[in-house]
C-alpha cells in the first residue's frame, strides 16, 4: 500500500526535481548572458555597457573601453557576484541533493540563491536609476538590461522554492 502510493508519487517528485533544476539553470544562463553581453543600452548600431561601448561598422565591431563611472563599476561587481552566487548555489544544491538527511531542507542553496537575486536586484536598480543622467535621451534599453531584470524574479522564485523543498529518501 505504502509502496504503491510511493510509486505513484515518484514521477511527480521527479517532475518537481526536474523543474527546479531547469528553473535554476535558466536563471543561471540568463545571469551569464546579462553580465557578459555588453548591450545594456543601445543607440541604433551602438551598444553600451556593461563593459564596452561597441559600434557596428561595416560588419565588424569597433569597441572602446567604458568611461570609469563609479556606479557602473558597482553594477559590474554586483552582476558578477550574482552570477557567482547563483553558480555556487547550484553546486551546493547538487551536493545537498545527495548528502542531505531525509526530510531536510535545502537552506544553504536557498540562502545563496536569494543572495544572488538581491545582488541582481541592486545592480539592475542602480543601473536604472543612474543611467538617464549619463547618456543622451535617444537611447533605448538593450536586451542585456531586460535579461538582468528578468533574472531577478527568476532567482527569487528559485530561492523561495528551495526554502519549501524537502529531501525525501
Amino acid at each position: 500500500m505504502a509502496d504503491e502510493a510511493g510509486l505513484a508519487k515518484k514521477p511527480k517528485m521527479l517532475v518537481i526535481l526536474f523543474a527546479t533544476i531547469v528553473l535554476h539553470l535558466t536563471s543561471l544562463i540568463i545571469l551569464f548572458i546579462a553580465t557578459c553581453a555588453s548591450a545594456w543600452r543601445t543607440h541604433g548600431d551602438t551598444s553600451y555597457d556593461l563593459w564596452y561601448d561597441c559600434t557596428q561598422i561595416n560588419g565588424g565591431y569597433k569597441c572602446s573601453g567604458n568611461g570609469d563611472a563609479d556606479w557602473l563599476q558597482a553594477v559590474q561587481a554586483l552582476m558578477v557576484l550574482a552570477t557567482i552566487f547563483c553558480l555556487i548555489s547550484f553546486i551546493i544544491f547538487l551536493c545537498q541533493l545527495f548528502t542531505l538527511v531525509k526530510g531536510g531542507r535545502f537552506f544553504f542553496t536557498a540562502v545563496f540563491q536569494i543572495l544572488a537575486s538581491l545582488f541582481v536586484m541592486s545592480g539592475a536598480i542602480i543601473y536604472t536609476v543612474m543611467s538617464p543622467q549619463w547618456k543622451n535621451d535617444s537611447d533605448t534599453y538593450g536586451y542585456a538590461f531586460v535579461l538582468a531584470w528578468l533574472a531577478f524574479p527568476l532567482t527569487l522564485i528559485s530561492g523561495l522554492i528551495y526554502i519549501i523543498l524537502r529531501k525525501k529518501e
Binding site: A74, I84, I164
Partner: protein, 212 residues
C-alpha cells in the same frame, strides 16, 4: 646561382633599410589634473649613433581642430619653445637629447589644453620614421581607474563569504571535538552511534517534495 644571390641581397637590403628606420616612442594617453604640470615623454630608437644634429619637434592639435600647430623645436643643441600660441611661457624642455629623450613639461594645465600632441624626432642620417602621438586629457578630478571599484567589491564579498564558511566549519569542528572529548571521558567506547545509519546503499535517484 646568381639569381639566388641577387634575391638574398635584395632581401637583406630590405631588412637593413627597415632596421634603419627611426622609431619614436611616447605614451598613448596621458591624464592630468587641471592646474598641475604634465610631462610628455618622447624617446626614439635608432640603429645609428646619436648625432649632434638630433632634433625633436612637438606639434599640438586641439580637440576638434583640424590642423596642428608647432609648439616646440629642439635642434642644433638648442631648445626653441614657441614664443606665441597657447603654450607661451608654459613649456619647458626637460629631455636629454644625448640620451635620446625629447620630453617636454607643460605647466599649469587648463581645460583648453585637451588635445593630441605629436612628437617627431630626427637623428641624421636616420630621418625616416613615424611621428608618435599622445592624447592629453585634463580632468577636474582624477577618475577612478577602470575596474578598481569592481574588483574591490567582488574581493570583499567573496572574502567575507570564505570567512563566514571558515568560521562555521571551525565552530562545528570545535563543538564536535568538545562533544567527543566529553563522551570519551564519560564512556570511553560507546560514542559511536552515528555510523550505524550511514551504511552504504545502492545509489538511488534522490527525490524531493514540496511541503510548507
Amino acid at each position: 646561382m646568381l639569381s639566388v644571390l641577387a634575391l638574398t641581397s635584395v632581401v637583406l637590403l630590405g631588412i637593413a633599410s627597415q632596421s634603419t628606420a627611426l622609431v619614436v616612442n611616447t605614451d598613448s594617453e596621458k591624464h592630468a589634473l587641471v592646474g598641475s604640470d604634465v610631462r610628455l615623454s618622447c624617446s626614439f630608437f635608432s640603429w645609428q649613433w646619436t648625432s649632434p644634429e638630433v632634433s625633436f619637434t612637438w606639434h599640438y592639435r586641439p580637440d576638434g581642430a583640424k590642423d596642428a600647430i608647432s609648439i616646440f623645436h629642439y635642434g642644433g643643441g638648442e631648445a626653441y619653445p614657441a614664443n606665441k600660441g597657447p603654450f607661451q611661457n608654459r613649456l619647458e624642455f626637460v629631455g636629454n637629447p644625448s640620451r635620446r629623450d625629447g620630453s617636454i613639461l607643460i605647466k599649469n594645465l587648463d581645460f583648453g589644453d585637451n588635445g593630441t600632441f605629436t612628437c617627431d624626432a630626427k637623428n641624421p642620417p636616420d630621418i625616416g620614421g613615424h611621428p608618435s602621438t599622445i592624447r592629453l586629457l585634463v580632468f577636474e578630478k582624477v577618475p577612478v581607474q577602470a575596474g578598481v571599484i569592481t574588483g574591490s567589491i567582488i574581493g570583499v564579498v567573496l572574502g567575507l563569504l570564505i570567512l563566514v564558511v571558515a568560521i562555521y566549519y571551525l565552530m562545528r569542528f570545535l563543538v564536535a571535538r568538545r562533544v567527543f572529548s566529553l563522551s570519551m571521558s564519560k564512556h570511553g567506547k560507546k560514542g559511536k552511534g552515528k555510523e550505524g545509519s550511514q551504511q552504504k546503499q545502492k545509489p538511488k535517484v534522490p527525490l524531493v517534495f514540496i511541503s510548507f
